[in-house]
Symmetry: C2
Subunit: 314 residues, 2 copies
Protein backbone atom coordinates (compact mmCIF):
# COMPACT_ATOMS: atom_id res chain seq x y z
CA UNK A 1 0.00 0.00 0.00
CA UNK A 2 2.82 2.42 0.86
CA UNK A 3 4.53 1.39 -2.34
CA UNK A 4 1.38 2.33 -4.23
CA UNK A 5 1.47 5.74 -2.56
CA UNK A 6 5.15 6.14 -3.33
CA UNK A 7 4.53 5.17 -6.94
CA UNK A 8 1.64 7.61 -7.34
CA UNK A 9 -0.63 4.69 -8.15
CA UNK A 10 -4.26 5.77 -8.68
CA UNK A 11 -5.45 2.73 -6.68
CA UNK A 12 -3.86 4.24 -3.58
CA UNK A 13 -6.49 6.94 -3.31
CA UNK A 14 -9.53 4.73 -2.97
CA UNK A 15 -7.72 2.35 -0.62
CA UNK A 16 -6.72 5.31 1.51
CA UNK A 17 -10.33 6.38 1.76
CA UNK A 18 -11.28 2.96 3.08
CA UNK A 19 -8.46 2.95 5.62
CA UNK A 20 -8.96 6.49 6.88
CA UNK A 21 -11.76 5.70 9.38
CA UNK A 22 -9.52 3.08 11.01
CA UNK A 23 -6.59 5.43 11.43
CA UNK A 24 -6.05 8.22 13.92
CA UNK A 25 -4.90 6.45 17.06
CA UNK A 26 -1.15 6.45 16.48
CA UNK A 27 1.25 8.83 18.18
CA UNK A 28 3.29 10.42 15.41
CA UNK A 29 6.78 11.55 16.35
CA UNK A 30 8.96 13.64 14.05
CA UNK A 31 12.74 13.40 14.41
CA UNK A 32 14.77 15.92 12.48
CA UNK A 33 18.27 17.37 12.43
CA UNK A 34 21.29 18.03 10.22
CA UNK A 35 23.05 15.14 8.48
CA UNK A 36 25.55 13.40 10.74
CA UNK A 37 23.94 14.11 14.11
CA UNK A 38 23.09 10.43 14.50
CA UNK A 39 19.34 10.43 13.88
CA UNK A 40 19.23 6.84 12.63
CA UNK A 41 21.27 5.41 15.48
CA UNK A 42 19.07 7.31 17.89
CA UNK A 43 15.88 6.01 16.29
CA UNK A 44 17.30 2.52 16.33
CA UNK A 45 17.78 2.86 20.09
CA UNK A 46 14.32 4.41 20.47
CA UNK A 47 12.76 1.41 18.74
CA UNK A 48 14.25 -0.80 21.47
CA UNK A 49 12.91 1.46 24.19
CA UNK A 50 9.40 1.50 22.76
CA UNK A 51 9.51 -2.25 22.15
CA UNK A 52 10.40 -2.76 25.83
CA UNK A 53 7.11 -0.97 26.53
CA UNK A 54 5.49 -3.40 24.06
CA UNK A 55 4.44 -0.71 21.60
CA UNK A 56 4.02 -1.59 17.94
CA UNK A 57 6.29 0.85 16.14
CA UNK A 58 6.83 2.07 12.59
CA UNK A 59 9.60 4.28 11.19
CA UNK A 60 9.36 6.28 7.99
CA UNK A 61 12.65 7.78 6.81
CA UNK A 62 11.84 10.72 4.56
CA UNK A 63 14.53 11.90 2.22
CA UNK A 64 13.90 15.13 0.33
CA UNK A 65 17.23 15.08 -1.51
CA UNK A 66 16.76 11.73 -3.13
CA UNK A 67 17.67 9.98 -5.35
CA UNK A 68 21.24 10.94 -4.52
CA UNK A 69 21.35 10.07 -0.87
CA UNK A 70 19.60 6.80 -1.57
CA UNK A 71 22.79 5.18 -0.42
CA UNK A 72 22.70 6.78 2.99
CA UNK A 73 19.08 5.86 3.56
CA UNK A 74 19.84 2.33 2.45
CA UNK A 75 22.67 2.23 4.97
CA UNK A 76 20.34 3.45 7.66
CA UNK A 77 17.84 0.79 6.86
CA UNK A 78 20.55 -1.84 7.05
CA UNK A 79 21.60 -0.44 10.41
CA UNK A 80 18.05 -0.88 11.64
CA UNK A 81 17.86 -4.36 10.08
CA UNK A 82 18.30 -6.06 13.43
CA UNK A 83 14.64 -5.31 14.01
CA UNK A 84 13.75 -7.20 10.83
CA UNK A 85 12.67 -10.30 12.70
CA UNK A 86 10.41 -8.30 15.01
CA UNK A 87 7.02 -8.22 13.31
CA UNK A 88 5.92 -5.35 15.53
CA UNK A 89 8.54 -3.10 13.94
CA UNK A 90 8.11 -1.67 10.46
CA UNK A 91 10.77 0.43 8.75
CA UNK A 92 10.36 2.13 5.40
CA UNK A 93 12.12 4.95 3.57
CA UNK A 94 10.33 7.39 1.31
CA UNK A 95 12.07 9.51 -1.28
CA UNK A 96 10.93 12.49 -3.25
CA UNK A 97 9.76 11.05 -6.53
CA UNK A 98 7.30 13.60 -7.72
CA UNK A 99 4.43 12.23 -5.67
CA UNK A 100 1.30 14.28 -5.93
CA UNK A 101 1.45 16.97 -3.30
CA UNK A 102 5.05 16.11 -2.65
CA UNK A 103 6.57 14.30 0.26
CA UNK A 104 4.38 15.85 2.94
CA UNK A 105 1.27 14.37 1.46
CA UNK A 106 2.89 10.98 0.65
CA UNK A 107 4.18 10.76 4.22
CA UNK A 108 0.80 11.71 5.66
CA UNK A 109 -0.78 9.04 3.47
CA UNK A 110 1.72 6.48 4.80
CA UNK A 111 0.92 7.38 8.42
CA UNK A 112 -2.77 6.74 7.70
CA UNK A 113 -1.96 3.26 6.40
CA UNK A 114 0.34 2.45 9.32
CA UNK A 115 -2.05 3.83 11.89
CA UNK A 116 -4.90 1.78 10.43
CA UNK A 117 -2.63 -1.26 10.65
CA UNK A 118 -2.36 -0.75 14.37
CA UNK A 119 1.07 0.80 14.71
CA UNK A 120 0.87 2.75 17.95
CA UNK A 121 3.95 4.88 17.49
CA UNK A 122 5.09 6.18 14.11
CA UNK A 123 8.47 7.88 13.94
CA UNK A 124 9.16 10.09 10.94
CA UNK A 125 12.84 10.74 10.38
CA UNK A 126 13.89 13.57 8.11
CA UNK A 127 16.68 16.00 7.48
CA UNK A 128 14.27 18.70 6.39
CA UNK A 129 12.21 20.94 8.62
CA UNK A 130 9.95 23.93 8.62
CA UNK A 131 9.93 25.72 5.32
CA UNK A 132 11.50 22.96 3.24
CA UNK A 133 9.61 20.79 0.80
CA UNK A 134 8.77 18.37 3.56
CA UNK A 135 7.10 20.04 6.50
CA UNK A 136 7.44 17.78 9.51
CA UNK A 137 5.02 19.94 11.52
CA UNK A 138 2.23 19.15 9.08
CA UNK A 139 2.45 15.45 9.94
CA UNK A 140 3.86 14.94 13.45
CA UNK A 141 2.21 15.37 16.83
CA UNK A 142 5.51 15.81 18.61
CA UNK A 143 8.76 16.98 17.06
CA UNK A 144 12.26 16.19 18.31
CA UNK A 145 15.21 18.22 17.05
CA UNK A 146 18.55 16.40 17.18
CA UNK A 147 21.76 18.42 17.54
CA UNK A 148 25.33 17.59 18.53
CA UNK A 149 27.65 19.61 20.76
CA UNK A 150 29.86 22.34 19.40
CA UNK A 151 28.65 22.65 15.84
CA UNK A 152 27.23 26.11 16.25
CA UNK A 153 23.93 24.52 15.28
CA UNK A 154 22.33 26.76 17.86
CA UNK A 155 22.56 30.01 15.96
CA UNK A 156 21.67 28.24 12.73
CA UNK A 157 18.62 26.82 14.45
CA UNK A 158 17.43 30.26 15.51
CA UNK A 159 17.91 31.59 11.99
CA UNK A 160 16.13 28.65 10.45
CA UNK A 161 13.19 28.84 12.81
CA UNK A 162 14.01 25.35 14.05
CA UNK A 163 13.74 26.46 17.63
CA UNK A 164 10.08 27.23 17.15
CA UNK A 165 9.01 23.87 15.80
CA UNK A 166 10.68 21.59 18.36
CA UNK A 167 8.93 20.10 21.37
CA UNK A 168 11.91 18.08 22.53
CA UNK A 169 15.53 18.99 21.85
CA UNK A 170 18.08 16.21 21.84
CA UNK A 171 21.78 16.85 22.32
CA UNK A 172 23.21 13.62 20.95
CA UNK A 173 26.86 12.50 21.19
CA UNK A 174 26.74 14.20 24.57
CA UNK A 175 29.99 12.55 25.67
CA UNK A 176 31.74 15.21 23.63
CA UNK A 177 33.56 17.81 25.73
CA UNK A 178 31.29 20.81 25.01
CA UNK A 179 28.00 18.98 25.57
CA UNK A 180 27.17 20.87 28.75
CA UNK A 181 27.60 24.30 27.16
CA UNK A 182 25.49 23.22 24.18
CA UNK A 183 22.69 22.18 26.53
CA UNK A 184 22.92 25.51 28.35
CA UNK A 185 22.97 27.46 25.09
CA UNK A 186 19.89 25.59 23.87
CA UNK A 187 18.06 26.11 27.17
CA UNK A 188 18.87 29.80 27.12
CA UNK A 189 17.63 30.19 23.56
CA UNK A 190 14.50 28.20 24.35
CA UNK A 191 13.77 30.43 27.34
CA UNK A 192 13.73 33.37 24.93
CA UNK A 193 11.61 31.51 22.41
CA UNK A 194 8.97 33.78 21.01
CA UNK A 195 5.65 32.15 21.66
CA UNK A 196 3.79 34.22 19.10
CA UNK A 197 5.23 32.35 16.17
CA UNK A 198 3.94 29.75 13.75
CA UNK A 199 5.37 27.19 16.16
CA UNK A 200 2.50 28.02 18.44
CA UNK A 201 -0.21 27.59 15.92
CA UNK A 202 -1.62 24.91 18.16
CA UNK A 203 -2.34 27.30 21.00
CA UNK A 204 -5.97 26.86 21.84
CA UNK A 205 -6.79 29.57 24.32
CA UNK A 206 -4.90 31.56 26.97
CA UNK A 207 -5.94 29.09 29.67
CA UNK A 208 -4.44 26.10 27.86
CA UNK A 209 -1.16 25.16 29.55
CA UNK A 210 1.87 25.39 27.32
CA UNK A 211 4.35 22.59 26.87
CA UNK A 212 7.77 23.85 27.92
CA UNK A 213 10.30 22.38 25.46
CA UNK A 214 12.62 19.88 27.12
CA UNK A 215 16.30 19.31 26.41
CA UNK A 216 17.49 15.69 26.64
CA UNK A 217 21.11 14.52 26.45
CA UNK A 218 21.77 11.22 24.68
CA UNK A 219 24.61 9.04 23.46
CA UNK A 220 22.73 7.02 20.86
CA UNK A 221 25.73 4.72 20.25
CA UNK A 222 25.53 3.15 23.71
CA UNK A 223 21.93 3.96 24.55
CA UNK A 224 22.62 6.58 27.23
CA UNK A 225 19.64 8.85 27.78
CA UNK A 226 17.43 7.02 25.30
CA UNK A 227 15.11 5.64 27.97
CA UNK A 228 14.62 9.19 29.26
CA UNK A 229 14.02 10.39 25.70
CA UNK A 230 11.33 7.77 25.09
CA UNK A 231 9.70 8.73 28.40
CA UNK A 232 9.81 12.41 27.43
CA UNK A 233 8.05 11.76 24.12
CA UNK A 234 5.38 9.70 25.88
CA UNK A 235 4.91 12.36 28.56
CA UNK A 236 4.52 15.00 25.82
CA UNK A 237 1.83 12.77 24.31
CA UNK A 238 0.07 12.45 27.69
CA UNK A 239 0.36 16.19 28.26
CA UNK A 240 -1.29 16.90 24.91
CA UNK A 241 -3.98 14.33 25.56
CA UNK A 242 -4.79 15.60 29.04
CA UNK A 243 -5.05 19.23 27.90
CA UNK A 244 -7.17 18.59 24.78
CA UNK A 245 -4.19 19.84 22.76
CA UNK A 246 -3.98 16.53 20.93
CA UNK A 247 -7.55 16.72 19.62
CA UNK A 248 -6.99 20.27 18.54
CA UNK A 249 -3.72 19.35 16.84
CA UNK A 250 -5.31 16.40 15.05
CA UNK A 251 -8.06 18.66 13.70
CA UNK A 252 -5.45 21.16 12.54
CA UNK A 253 -3.47 18.40 10.79
CA UNK A 254 -6.71 17.21 9.19
CA UNK A 255 -7.36 20.68 7.80
CA UNK A 256 -3.81 20.85 6.42
CA UNK A 257 -4.30 17.44 4.84
CA UNK A 258 -7.67 18.45 3.37
CA UNK A 259 -6.12 21.56 1.82
CA UNK A 260 -3.26 19.65 0.28
CA UNK A 261 -5.62 16.98 -1.09
CA UNK A 262 -7.83 19.70 -2.50
CA UNK A 263 -4.88 21.33 -4.24
CA UNK A 264 -3.70 18.03 -5.68
CA UNK A 265 -7.10 16.92 -6.92
CA UNK A 266 -8.05 20.33 -8.30
CA UNK A 267 -4.72 20.76 -10.04
CA UNK A 268 -4.88 17.30 -11.53
CA UNK A 269 -8.40 17.69 -12.92
CA UNK A 270 -8.10 21.30 -14.00
CA UNK A 271 -4.74 20.79 -15.61
CA UNK A 272 -6.11 17.89 -17.65
CA UNK A 273 -9.09 20.05 -18.60
CA UNK A 274 -6.82 22.97 -19.52
CA UNK A 275 -4.47 20.85 -21.61
CA UNK A 276 -7.32 19.81 -23.85
CA UNK A 277 -8.35 23.39 -24.54
CA UNK A 278 -7.53 25.21 -27.75
CA UNK A 279 -6.11 28.12 -25.77
CA UNK A 280 -3.44 25.78 -24.43
CA UNK A 281 -2.56 24.42 -27.85
CA UNK A 282 -2.42 27.88 -29.38
CA UNK A 283 -0.15 29.06 -26.58
CA UNK A 284 2.21 26.14 -27.18
CA UNK A 285 2.35 26.96 -30.88
CA UNK A 286 3.15 30.58 -30.16
CA UNK A 287 6.00 29.56 -27.86
CA UNK A 288 7.26 27.12 -30.47
CA UNK A 289 7.31 29.78 -33.18
CA UNK A 290 8.87 32.28 -30.81
CA UNK A 291 6.03 34.77 -31.23
CA UNK A 292 5.22 34.69 -27.51
CA UNK A 293 7.28 34.16 -24.36
CA UNK A 294 6.21 31.38 -21.96
CA UNK A 295 5.39 33.81 -19.15
CA UNK A 296 2.87 35.82 -21.15
CA UNK A 297 1.49 32.64 -22.68
CA UNK A 298 0.82 31.00 -19.31
CA UNK A 299 -0.80 34.15 -18.01
CA UNK A 300 -3.06 34.35 -21.06
CA UNK A 301 -4.26 30.76 -20.83
CA UNK A 302 -5.14 31.09 -17.16
CA UNK A 303 -6.83 34.46 -17.64
CA UNK A 304 -8.96 33.18 -20.51
CA UNK A 305 -9.97 30.16 -18.47
CA UNK A 306 -10.89 32.18 -15.40
CA UNK A 307 -12.80 34.73 -17.48
CA UNK A 308 -14.87 31.99 -19.10
CA UNK A 309 -15.69 30.52 -15.74
CA UNK A 310 -16.85 33.86 -14.39
CA UNK A 311 -18.92 34.56 -17.48
CA UNK A 312 -20.69 31.27 -17.05
CA UNK A 313 -21.13 31.90 -13.39
CA UNK A 314 -23.13 35.10 -13.89
CA UNK B 1 15.22 40.81 -8.16
CA UNK B 2 16.35 37.29 -7.20
CA UNK B 3 15.45 38.13 -3.63
CA UNK B 4 11.94 39.04 -4.81
CA UNK B 5 11.70 35.66 -6.54
CA UNK B 6 13.01 33.88 -3.46
CA UNK B 7 10.49 35.72 -1.29
CA UNK B 8 7.57 34.91 -3.57
CA UNK B 9 7.01 38.63 -4.09
CA UNK B 10 4.18 39.36 -6.55
CA UNK B 11 6.29 42.14 -8.12
CA UNK B 12 8.71 39.49 -9.36
CA UNK B 13 6.29 38.19 -11.95
CA UNK B 14 5.82 41.40 -13.92
CA UNK B 15 9.53 42.22 -13.74
CA UNK B 16 10.31 38.75 -15.02
CA UNK B 17 8.04 39.33 -17.99
CA UNK B 18 9.96 42.48 -18.87
CA UNK B 19 13.31 40.74 -18.55
CA UNK B 20 12.41 37.60 -20.47
CA UNK B 21 13.00 38.99 -23.99
CA UNK B 22 16.53 40.00 -22.95
CA UNK B 23 17.40 36.57 -21.61
CA UNK B 24 18.27 33.39 -23.43
CA UNK B 25 21.92 33.78 -24.36
CA UNK B 26 23.54 32.28 -21.29
CA UNK B 27 25.03 28.81 -21.19
CA UNK B 28 23.49 27.10 -18.18
CA UNK B 29 25.58 24.41 -16.54
CA UNK B 30 24.23 22.09 -13.85
CA UNK B 31 26.66 20.59 -11.33
CA UNK B 32 25.31 17.92 -9.06
CA UNK B 33 26.56 15.14 -6.82
CA UNK B 34 26.36 13.71 -3.31
CA UNK B 35 27.33 15.85 -0.31
CA UNK B 36 31.09 15.84 0.30
CA UNK B 37 32.31 15.20 -3.24
CA UNK B 38 33.72 18.73 -3.40
CA UNK B 39 31.20 20.47 -5.66
CA UNK B 40 31.83 23.93 -4.22
CA UNK B 41 35.59 23.72 -4.39
CA UNK B 42 35.28 22.50 -7.96
CA UNK B 43 32.96 25.35 -8.92
CA UNK B 44 35.29 27.81 -7.23
CA UNK B 45 38.07 26.52 -9.48
CA UNK B 46 35.77 26.57 -12.52
CA UNK B 47 34.99 30.24 -11.89
CA UNK B 48 38.72 30.98 -12.24
CA UNK B 49 38.94 29.03 -15.46
CA UNK B 50 35.97 30.80 -17.02
CA UNK B 51 37.21 34.17 -15.80
CA UNK B 52 40.54 33.47 -17.52
CA UNK B 53 38.47 33.19 -20.71
CA UNK B 54 36.86 36.52 -19.72
CA UNK B 55 33.37 35.10 -19.35
CA UNK B 56 30.93 36.83 -17.02
CA UNK B 57 29.82 34.07 -14.65
CA UNK B 58 27.06 33.48 -12.12
CA UNK B 59 26.62 30.63 -9.64
CA UNK B 60 23.32 29.63 -8.05
CA UNK B 61 23.62 27.13 -5.22
CA UNK B 62 20.30 25.37 -4.86
CA UNK B 63 19.59 23.65 -1.58
CA UNK B 64 16.50 21.46 -1.41
CA UNK B 65 17.02 20.43 2.23
CA UNK B 66 17.06 23.92 3.62
CA UNK B 67 16.68 25.50 6.12
CA UNK B 68 18.83 22.96 7.91
CA UNK B 69 21.90 22.97 5.72
CA UNK B 70 21.84 26.76 5.56
CA UNK B 71 25.12 26.59 7.41
CA UNK B 72 26.83 24.50 4.75
CA UNK B 73 25.67 26.75 1.94
CA UNK B 74 26.82 29.76 3.90
CA UNK B 75 30.21 28.10 4.28
CA UNK B 76 30.35 27.46 0.55
CA UNK B 77 29.58 31.05 -0.19
CA UNK B 78 32.35 32.14 2.16
CA UNK B 79 34.68 29.76 0.41
CA UNK B 80 33.84 31.41 -2.90
CA UNK B 81 34.15 34.86 -1.33
CA UNK B 82 37.52 35.48 -2.91
CA UNK B 83 35.61 36.31 -6.07
CA UNK B 84 33.66 39.00 -4.19
CA UNK B 85 35.75 41.83 -5.63
CA UNK B 86 35.26 40.56 -9.17
CA UNK B 87 32.16 42.29 -10.48
CA UNK B 88 31.88 39.80 -13.30
CA UNK B 89 31.22 37.02 -10.80
CA UNK B 90 27.87 36.66 -9.05
CA UNK B 91 27.19 34.00 -6.41
CA UNK B 92 23.84 33.37 -4.79
CA UNK B 93 22.25 30.53 -2.87
CA UNK B 94 18.60 29.60 -3.09
CA UNK B 95 16.79 27.52 -0.53
CA UNK B 96 13.45 25.79 -0.64
CA UNK B 97 11.10 28.22 1.01
CA UNK B 98 7.79 27.30 -0.45
CA UNK B 99 8.26 29.31 -3.62
CA UNK B 100 5.48 28.93 -6.06
CA UNK B 101 6.24 25.96 -8.25
CA UNK B 102 9.07 25.04 -5.95
CA UNK B 103 12.77 25.36 -6.45
CA UNK B 104 12.82 24.40 -10.13
CA UNK B 105 10.70 27.36 -11.05
CA UNK B 106 12.48 29.79 -8.70
CA UNK B 107 15.84 28.70 -10.11
CA UNK B 108 14.60 29.03 -13.68
CA UNK B 109 13.34 32.52 -12.82
CA UNK B 110 16.76 33.40 -11.42
CA UNK B 111 18.53 32.22 -14.58
CA UNK B 112 16.27 34.52 -16.62
CA UNK B 113 17.31 37.49 -14.49
CA UNK B 114 21.00 36.60 -14.65
CA UNK B 115 20.93 35.91 -18.36
CA UNK B 116 19.21 39.25 -19.00
CA UNK B 117 21.95 40.90 -16.94
CA UNK B 118 24.54 39.57 -19.34
CA UNK B 119 25.96 36.65 -17.42
CA UNK B 120 27.32 34.35 -20.13
CA UNK B 121 27.74 31.25 -18.01
CA UNK B 122 25.40 30.31 -15.19
CA UNK B 123 26.38 27.38 -12.99
CA UNK B 124 23.68 25.77 -10.92
CA UNK B 125 25.00 23.72 -8.04
CA UNK B 126 22.73 21.25 -6.31
CA UNK B 127 22.75 18.03 -4.36
CA UNK B 128 19.49 16.92 -5.91
CA UNK B 129 18.99 15.41 -9.31
CA UNK B 130 16.45 13.76 -11.51
CA UNK B 131 13.28 12.86 -9.71
CA UNK B 132 13.85 15.02 -6.64
CA UNK B 133 12.02 18.23 -5.90
CA UNK B 134 14.57 20.15 -7.87
CA UNK B 135 15.03 18.82 -11.36
CA UNK B 136 18.35 20.05 -12.71
CA UNK B 137 17.52 18.79 -16.20
CA UNK B 138 14.58 21.19 -16.41
CA UNK B 139 16.94 24.16 -16.11
CA UNK B 140 20.45 23.28 -17.33
CA UNK B 141 21.75 22.92 -20.89
CA UNK B 142 24.64 20.74 -19.79
CA UNK B 143 24.81 18.64 -16.65
CA UNK B 144 27.96 17.58 -14.82
CA UNK B 145 27.80 14.77 -12.27
CA UNK B 146 30.52 14.89 -9.61
CA UNK B 147 31.67 11.68 -7.94
CA UNK B 148 34.68 10.65 -5.91
CA UNK B 149 36.68 7.42 -6.14
CA UNK B 150 35.75 4.35 -4.16
CA UNK B 151 32.41 5.33 -2.69
CA UNK B 152 30.41 2.82 -4.67
CA UNK B 153 28.60 5.84 -6.09
CA UNK B 154 28.58 4.03 -9.38
CA UNK B 155 25.96 1.45 -8.59
CA UNK B 156 23.92 4.04 -6.70
CA UNK B 157 24.08 6.25 -9.77
CA UNK B 158 22.69 3.55 -11.99
CA UNK B 159 19.88 2.88 -9.54
CA UNK B 160 19.06 6.53 -9.21
CA UNK B 161 19.06 7.16 -12.94
CA UNK B 162 21.89 9.64 -12.51
CA UNK B 163 23.82 8.05 -15.31
CA UNK B 164 21.13 9.05 -17.76
CA UNK B 165 21.04 12.74 -16.97
CA UNK B 166 24.79 13.50 -17.06
CA UNK B 167 26.62 14.95 -20.04
CA UNK B 168 29.95 15.18 -18.28
CA UNK B 169 31.06 12.96 -15.42
CA UNK B 170 33.66 14.32 -13.03
CA UNK B 171 35.76 12.06 -10.84
CA UNK B 172 36.98 14.56 -8.25
CA UNK B 173 39.66 13.91 -5.59
CA UNK B 174 41.26 11.79 -8.28
CA UNK B 175 44.55 11.61 -6.37
CA UNK B 176 42.91 8.93 -4.26
CA UNK B 177 44.26 5.42 -4.89
CA UNK B 178 41.20 3.92 -6.61
CA UNK B 179 40.59 6.83 -8.98
CA UNK B 180 41.54 4.87 -12.09
CA UNK B 181 39.16 2.01 -11.37
CA UNK B 182 36.36 4.50 -10.68
CA UNK B 183 36.94 6.12 -14.06
CA UNK B 184 36.89 2.72 -15.76
CA UNK B 185 33.77 1.66 -13.91
CA UNK B 186 32.03 4.88 -14.93
CA UNK B 187 33.12 4.53 -18.55
CA UNK B 188 31.95 0.97 -18.65
CA UNK B 189 28.56 1.88 -17.23
CA UNK B 190 28.26 4.80 -19.63
CA UNK B 191 29.01 2.55 -22.57
CA UNK B 192 26.01 0.48 -21.57
CA UNK B 193 23.85 3.56 -21.05
CA UNK B 194 20.44 3.00 -22.48
CA UNK B 195 19.82 5.73 -24.97
CA UNK B 196 16.10 5.22 -25.06
CA UNK B 197 15.54 6.82 -21.68
CA UNK B 198 14.24 10.15 -20.43
CA UNK B 199 17.87 11.29 -20.49
CA UNK B 200 17.57 11.37 -24.23
CA UNK B 201 14.44 13.43 -24.42
CA UNK B 202 16.42 15.94 -26.42
CA UNK B 203 17.02 13.58 -29.27
CA UNK B 204 15.82 15.35 -32.37
CA UNK B 205 15.97 12.84 -35.16
CA UNK B 206 18.02 9.73 -35.96
CA UNK B 207 20.47 11.78 -38.02
CA UNK B 208 21.31 14.12 -35.15
CA UNK B 209 24.71 13.19 -33.73
CA UNK B 210 24.67 12.13 -30.11
CA UNK B 211 26.94 13.60 -27.49
CA UNK B 212 28.99 10.81 -25.99
CA UNK B 213 29.29 11.52 -22.24
CA UNK B 214 32.83 12.37 -21.19
CA UNK B 215 34.60 11.42 -17.97
CA UNK B 216 36.99 14.04 -16.58
CA UNK B 217 39.36 13.55 -13.63
CA UNK B 218 39.91 16.51 -11.34
CA UNK B 219 41.54 17.46 -8.06
CA UNK B 220 39.55 20.59 -7.25
CA UNK B 221 41.75 21.44 -4.27
CA UNK B 222 44.81 22.20 -6.42
CA UNK B 223 43.05 22.87 -9.71
CA UNK B 224 44.21 19.72 -11.53
CA UNK B 225 41.99 18.90 -14.49
CA UNK B 226 39.79 21.95 -14.04
CA UNK B 227 41.02 23.62 -17.22
CA UNK B 228 40.11 20.47 -19.14
CA UNK B 229 36.73 20.38 -17.41
CA UNK B 230 35.97 23.99 -18.41
CA UNK B 231 37.01 23.15 -21.98
CA UNK B 232 34.77 20.07 -21.97
CA UNK B 233 31.73 22.08 -20.88
CA UNK B 234 32.42 24.68 -23.58
CA UNK B 235 32.90 22.00 -26.21
CA UNK B 236 29.59 20.42 -25.18
CA UNK B 237 28.01 23.84 -25.65
CA UNK B 238 29.59 24.18 -29.11
CA UNK B 239 28.53 20.66 -30.01
CA UNK B 240 24.93 21.43 -29.10
CA UNK B 241 25.05 24.73 -30.96
CA UNK B 242 26.52 23.25 -34.12
CA UNK B 243 24.00 20.41 -34.25
CA UNK B 244 20.89 22.53 -33.55
CA UNK B 245 20.53 20.56 -30.31
CA UNK B 246 20.78 23.74 -28.28
CA UNK B 247 17.82 25.40 -29.99
CA UNK B 248 15.80 22.25 -29.56
CA UNK B 249 16.78 22.00 -25.91
CA UNK B 250 15.91 25.63 -25.27
CA UNK B 251 12.45 25.13 -26.77
CA UNK B 252 11.97 22.04 -24.63
CA UNK B 253 13.01 23.96 -21.50
CA UNK B 254 10.62 26.74 -22.50
CA UNK B 255 7.77 24.26 -22.73
CA UNK B 256 8.65 22.85 -19.31
CA UNK B 257 8.73 26.39 -17.93
CA UNK B 258 5.40 27.24 -19.55
CA UNK B 259 3.78 24.17 -18.04
CA UNK B 260 5.08 24.93 -14.56
CA UNK B 261 3.96 28.56 -14.82
CA UNK B 262 0.56 27.43 -15.98
CA UNK B 263 0.22 25.06 -13.05
CA UNK B 264 1.28 27.73 -10.57
CA UNK B 265 -0.99 30.43 -11.97
CA UNK B 266 -3.98 28.13 -12.39
CA UNK B 267 -3.58 26.65 -8.94
CA UNK B 268 -3.25 30.07 -7.38
CA UNK B 269 -6.34 31.53 -9.01
CA UNK B 270 -8.49 28.43 -8.79
CA UNK B 271 -7.58 27.76 -5.21
CA UNK B 272 -8.54 31.30 -4.27
CA UNK B 273 -11.78 30.88 -6.19
CA UNK B 274 -12.47 27.53 -4.53
CA UNK B 275 -11.74 28.79 -1.01
CA UNK B 276 -14.46 31.38 -1.35
CA UNK B 277 -17.07 28.83 -2.35
CA UNK B 278 -19.72 27.51 0.02
CA UNK B 279 -18.77 23.95 -0.87
CA UNK B 280 -15.33 24.56 0.62
CA UNK B 281 -16.72 26.07 3.81
CA UNK B 282 -19.24 23.26 4.23
CA UNK B 283 -16.52 20.67 3.75
CA UNK B 284 -14.37 22.33 6.41
CA UNK B 285 -17.30 22.29 8.83
CA UNK B 286 -17.93 18.62 8.20
CA UNK B 287 -14.28 17.81 8.90
CA UNK B 288 -14.40 19.93 12.04
CA UNK B 289 -17.47 18.12 13.35
CA UNK B 290 -16.03 14.76 12.38
CA UNK B 291 -18.95 13.90 10.11
CA UNK B 292 -16.69 13.59 7.06
CA UNK B 293 -13.09 12.52 6.55
CA UNK B 294 -10.74 14.95 4.73
CA UNK B 295 -10.23 12.61 1.76
CA UNK B 296 -13.92 12.33 0.90
CA UNK B 297 -14.38 16.06 1.59
CA UNK B 298 -11.63 17.11 -0.82
CA UNK B 299 -12.95 14.78 -3.48
CA UNK B 300 -16.44 16.20 -3.10
CA UNK B 301 -15.38 19.83 -3.39
CA UNK B 302 -13.38 19.19 -6.56
CA UNK B 303 -16.12 17.05 -8.11
CA UNK B 304 -18.78 19.69 -7.47
CA UNK B 305 -16.54 22.36 -8.96
CA UNK B 306 -15.73 20.37 -12.07
CA UNK B 307 -19.37 19.35 -12.57
CA UNK B 308 -20.45 22.99 -12.42
CA UNK B 309 -17.86 23.93 -14.98
CA UNK B 310 -18.94 21.19 -17.35
CA UNK B 311 -22.60 22.08 -16.98
CA UNK B 312 -21.83 25.63 -17.93
CA UNK B 313 -19.70 24.50 -20.77
CA UNK B 314 -22.48 22.56 -22.48
Amino acid sequence: MIRLIDDNDPKAFSLLKQLYPHSGNAFIIGITGSPGVGKSTLIDALIFEFRKRDRKIAVIAVDPTSPFSGGAILGDRLRMQRHAADEKVFIRSMASRGQKGGLSRATKDATIVLSAMGYEIIIIETVGAGQAEFDIASVAHSTGIVTIPGTGDGIQAVKAGILEIGDIFIVNKSDRPDAESSVLELKMMLSMRNFNTPGDRFEICPQTPKWAPIVVKTIAQNGTGVKELADTFLSHFDFMKKNTILDFKKKELERIYFNSLLKDLALEKIFLFMKESNDFKEALNKIESGSMDPITAAENVVNIMMARKKLRKT
